[in-house]
Point group: none
DNA sequence: GTGGTCTAGACCACA
DNA sequence: GTGGTCTAGACCACC
């Protein structure tokens, strides 16, 4: 696959977001085994140390669990996953509103910006809603 | 004044965003003189070199013009300012939609998230729309 | 007139180059009186101190002479003016060749670059050879 | 190595030009790793911050790409490099012609100045075409 | 006074 | 190891 990275942001975070996306979208289910650090490193085209850090971080956030000698698994605790989705949404919404109000946009304008963007996006490509 | 900074992001960027906000909201008009590097450094509570970098970046983006021995001024080119506002909105909207669609949210849900957040924000504090 | 300045280069030097151009092109002849510092400052739209420095610099290079209470005059020494023209040419040629050879251009290519540029320039505007 | 600098121009620019020369002359190829900031600082005999600024500017101009924790690399985009060479030539030619026409030289004279200079240069030292 | 450059040295996150 | 940011303090040219 070899993800394409923005070299201005930490790669380990971008990999993390990628996995979180798979988990939240249901492509990885509770209890599923993640690829090994080495496999993931190869498929993403990055240094194993970087993936290692990704996994550590995800484990710290209780989204995955590593079992000695067996591998790393998506948590069985669905509430953690839900929480992940909810808090991401909150964070992004806060950021969006905060940034735009700093630039002088009104609340009405923000909603317009969003709906305009979504409708324009819908026109050109119908099936790309979940493209990474 | 002494702005409060998020220690996870470069200060010079945060100062830049602060100034861009003032320009886009019309608190600083085309041709206006910015505070000198040293003044701004004092009022923001940071090193002059940091502000110097802020000003350099803003000049690179043509939002501001430095005149040797005179000071730093907001561009007279209104279209640059308009573009600033528009491109910021586009960037933020893209980010918002990109992040949420990665987490599996539908377009309807995104609009709901936004309107819910805005209405909740309206309840608690009416006067905070423009707080920095 | 109000010359347009590149704010990345010293204004006093740009004014100097402008006057040197007039002298070398024969628009100002040996013995001619230059405008007063104040007049020049107004017509160029800059600070009188800046023009003052321009004049000092030109006097240092013996291209003009200031006579107490009478004003500033182009030198009567034609050889200084000739030398001005010659040394400017030498300096510019050196710079041109030095820069281009650093970028890997051969001597042949340099001559081609020049003749191409000149012929293209000739097409569009015939009378602008001496525009400032 | 310890480059020798013209003290009237910013060092970080001179280093930049030096690297651009290497890239345009093919001494540094697309994808090649540049010396680290610290190494280059030592070899050029300047402060690391100065080289850091050089690298930042080059990255801004897309000639170079910094990868966190890995180093700084020449862009793989050959067209950027070609453009670099072409635009440098254009800029220098414009400057040359602009300056000389301001001093009253005709187009014929400009070409003569150049060819004379090149032939004289050829006599004295044959091997200095690419000296840095 | 203004901005621009440079040094010295520190700390940090990333790979 | 790498680059990125920040501070402190200096010096300079310019207006």
């Amino acid at each position: 696959m070899t993800l394409s990275f923005d070299h201005n942001r930490p790669i380990y975070i971008q990999v993390m977001e990628h996995v979180y996306g798979q988990v939240c979208r249901g492509e990885l289910n509770p209890g599923d085994k993640l690829p090994s650090v080495r496999e993931m490193a190869v498929s993403a085209g990055v240094n194993p140390n970087t993936i290692s850090r990704t996994y550590m971080e995800m484990e710290r956030e209780k989204v995955v669990e590593s079992k000695r000698g067996q591998g790393t698994f998506v948590t069985n605790n669905q509430s953690v996953i839900d929480e992940l989705k909810v808090s991401a949404a909150k964070k992004e919404t806060e950021r969006f509103v905060g940034a735009l109000s700093q630039y002088g946009y009104t609340e009405k304008e923000m909603e317009l910006l969003l709906s305009d963007y979504l409708s324009k996006r819908g026109e050109g490509n119908d099936r790309s809603t979940n493209q990474s």
